[in-house]
Amino acid sequence: EAEVAQSPRYKITEKSQAVAFWCDPISGHATLYWYRQILGQGPELLVQFQDESVVDDSQLPKDRFSAERLKGVDSTLKIQPAELGDSAMYLCASSFGLAGVSYNEQFFGPGTRLTVL
């Protein structure tokens, strides 16, 4: 069964360092999402792509976070510099539907657990 892949699964870094997370969505899924989930809370959308274009990044702290999906397939989320408050689970999800045209279920990857010391 096709799955969303993410790496690394765990990342420990010191504050002010740079970190990067990678996501490979299910083949054929046009829409890709990056979420941040703090323990005990629901996922918070950071950025949404349709193919290689950003559909929504209104909740992305752009002074330190960046995201790209250059070829419309896999995606990278970067934080520079990392802060203590960035410690969280970073989840990637993909869906077949095109934003604004149809809507389908989201398939989530296993996530990257980030700890900032």
Binding site: G42, D56, Y103, E105, Q106, F108, P110, G111
Partner: protein, 109 residues
């Protein structure tokens, strides 16, 4: 903006007892999805509700969408240890899911 509240935040049940979580909105919803997240896991899609008054069943799980499309519920009959986790309702707004804090189902030992 659209406000969604999910209650209760936690529910402790004995294995075999029923479980219900409610999702309430201040505005009419076009679409609502439900997800389950096991401890240490990632959210997994359960169901999507679109029609007013819709009721869908998946084995011991029953999902309802209110007649006014402002609320939804998930009911689990005779809970089992495999049901442990957090259940999220996620209404759709502008083609994005709005996630609340979920309801955590805990089975008493």
């Amino acid at each position: 903006g659209q406000q969604v509240m999910q209650i209760p935040q936690y529910q402790h049940v004995q294995e075999g007892e029923d479980f219900t979580t409610y999702c309430n909105s201040s505005t009419t919803l076009s679409n609502i999805q439900w997800y389950k997240q096991r401890p240490g896991g990632h959210p997994v899609f359960l169901i999507q509700l679109v029609k007013s008054g819709e009721v869908k069943k998946q084995k011991r799980l029953t999902f309802q969408f209110g007649e006014a499309k402002k609320n939804s519920s998930l009911h689990i009959t005779a809970t089992q240890t495999t049901d442990v986790g957090t259940y999220f309702c996620a209404p759709l707004r502008n083609y994005q899911l709005i996630w609340g804090a979920g309801t955590k189902l805990i089975i008493k030992p």
